[in-house]
Amino acid sequence: MQVRRRQQVTMTGVAAVAVVALSLAACSSSPSSTSSTPSGGSSSSTSGASLSGTLNGSGSTFQTVYQQSAISAFKSIQPNMTVNYGSGGSGKGRTDLASGVVNYAGSDSPIPSDETANFKGKTVLYFPVFLGPITMSYNLTGVSNLKLTPTVIADIFEAKIKTWNDPAIKAINPGVNLPSTPITIAVRADSSGTTQNFSLFLMTAVPSVWTLGSSSTINWPHTAHAGNGNPGVAQIIKSTPGAIGYVDYADAKASGLTFASVENKSGTYIAPSPSSASPAGAGVTVAPDLTFHAVWSSSPTAYPITYQSWVLVYAKQPNANDAAMLKAYIGYLIGQGQSLLTGLGYAPLPASIDQMAKAQLSKITS
């Protein structure tokens, strides 16, 4: 009698647990962005110059340094506002924005087609914030001004060119003493917008040579050495003689790496720098929603492997304070904040794009 009753109790318990667990799982499977905004807009709404509240953003690590510097400087303009930028990658930023847990996202690419459904039809505004060169950094003693063409780069990173004194490299570097050192390619271990845009450059410039596609994660040849983050790749290059890899200009410069000049669409060899990256934005077609691709720009003075990053926000904000804070902060990023960029190793937006971005600010409404 007792045994059966205990069994019944246990069975009921297990059944109850299963029901609870499954129903909770069912609730949680649909990311909800309909709940009251969990982040930001937590203080009284104000009008006029002084705003207060919290803004949360996440996404592209390419933007991290700029976001952090801007947040520091912005504190003196709006001391009662707190802005937090949590990095995590462009994909994470877009997901966080789609789920409604952040107020803005940083992304190195426009929203891909298989993600658009996550935004449930709400309009997303793209605000380009800066441009930045991707350097071809290398470690070769005695060679300080290497020149490379997209074809040669593609062949190197597909492991078709294996040594530094390969005829293809020698042909474009006459007079340079290239050793017979084997080439070690340094690539990203983690998925990244840098990889995405670097491979996009190769796919756009030399589609017949580059076979590995364009994505945040590429199936590199097995001989490649992979590092985490731009600093990780920089470290591999620094410590491996004969290495070559793709590193953001800001990190390459801070790590003291040597970088190559790359032939652009007009046939000129351009060295990466903030001043050669800005023109890249002028020579591309900008869509009405302010998306564009700065790689392989047709501007004659542009560095060909330049890429861009956007801040994404919803056009319609849940309350007036959020809208005001976003306008103020994004306005800073595309306005006064641009003066911080060159010192950090990024390129400011060309005037044409900057004006379009500023005009778009008014589209943030509540």
Binding site: Q2, R6, G13, A16, V17, A18, V20, A21, L22, L24, A25, S28, S29, G88, G89, S90, G91, K92, R94, T95, P112, D114, E115, A189, D190, S191, S192, G193, Q196, S199, L212, G213, S214, S215, S216, T217, I218, N219, H222, T223, A224, H225, A226, N228, G232, Q235, S239
Partner: protein, 326 residues
């Protein structure tokens, strides 16, 4: 809470038997509390399993059995995960092979060899090993350890190149970040767990049994084999399983030192990849089936852990039964 149940002494006061209505409220309350906690734990664990599987569902349905191929190429929408399964198994195995003898050795050292006064500092040293954050292990691994050990790998590699079995295991290609480096770092991380718990388990061996063995003339080693081991093997296996769980689930440190190269190779000094590492590295930019695939790695790890636990428990049961003579 009141202790003594009046009148009927034949039944122990703690049993939930026919006299359950006589049990004091505090006693039933405590049992209810323990039951509630047990249920809550179950809900949480089941939820984790269910939600993770849900998020991985599209990967299983899209790829089907192809998930067991070695073809992970997000740019081409291929998501075969065999290389990661292999890498997890290999690194966990290396970590166990290195950590378990060392950990059990230290545990025995602490309980059998070292006088009590010296055991406290040694315990603190093990604690110090435990508090090194996993991210620091990873950073030390990639910044200090890997560059140093890659020269050793290269020398060993060129030395055994060509020899039948050794050449396949330790021959070139070699690199700093590799299966073996990851295994070593994981071993460092799981040693405190296995040592600490094994020590606690071994300490519960009754002194009488130990003294009995010595009285029969056994050396310390013989006493350990005859008395300590049979008593504590279940607990030590439990400790090892916890360590194994940590080794299989360690994310950031492994991602930094494993080399991030999805390959199935017998060369232990070559770069490789593992399930938690690929999740850590590629999650930030993943969407759709790609993301489901990464979550699916987590689900596969559940399956791994289940299988290993069942095997381990079975082995312990069988040897315990044999010793009991049943």
């Amino acid at each position: 809470m009141s202790a003594v149940a009046p009148a009927d002494q034949a039944v122990p006061a703690g049993s939930a038997g026919a006299l359950s209505e006589r049990r004091p409220l505090g006693d039933r309350g405590f049992q209810g509390l323990a039951l509630a906690c047990g249920l809550l734990v179950l809900v949480i664990l089941v939820l984790i399993a269910v939600t993770t599987s849900q998020q991985a569902a599209s990967w299983f349905s899209t790829e089907g059995l192809k998930i067991f191929t070695n073809n992970w190429n997000p740019a081409a929408n291929d998501f075969g995960g065999l290389a990661f399964i292999y890498g997890t198994a290999v690194t966990a195995l290396i970590a166990l092979v290195m950590a378990v003898p060392v950990s059990v050795g230290i545990a025995l050292l602490l309980t059998e060899v070292v006088p009590y006064r010296w055991s406290r500092p040694i315990v603190y040293v093990i604690d110090l090993l435990a508090v090194v954050p996993s991210v620091v292990w990873g950073l030390w691994g990639i910044l200090v350890f890997a560059p140093w050990i890659q020269h050793i790998y290269a020398s060993i590699g060129s030395g055994v190149n060509g020899i039948p079995v050794l050449g396949n295991l330790f021959g070139p290609p070699t690199g700093g970040p590799s299966f073996f480096t990851c295994g070593i770092i994981l071993a460092f991380m799981i040693t405190p767990i296995v040592t600490s718990l094994s020590r606690e388990v071994i300490a519960t061996v009754p002194a009488i049994d130990r003294e009995g063995a010595y009285a029969l003339g056994a050396t310390r080693l013989e006493m350990i084999r005859g008395t300590v081991w049979p008593h504590s093997q279940g607990g030590v296996v439990g400790a090892v399983l916890l360590g194994l769980g940590r080794a299989m689930g360690e994310t950031i440190a492994a991602a930094l030192v494993i080399g991030s190269s999805p390959e199935i190779t017998s060369h232990l000094f070559a770069p490789g990849y593992s399930m938690p590492s690929v999740i850590a590295n590629q999650f930030g930019e993943s969407t759709g089936v790609f993301r489901a695939g990464l979550m699916g790695m987590g689900v596969l790890l559940f399956a791994f852990t289940i299988i290993i636990n069942i095997i381990a428990r079975g082995v312990v049961e069988r040897s315990a039964r044999r010793k009991r003579g049943a």
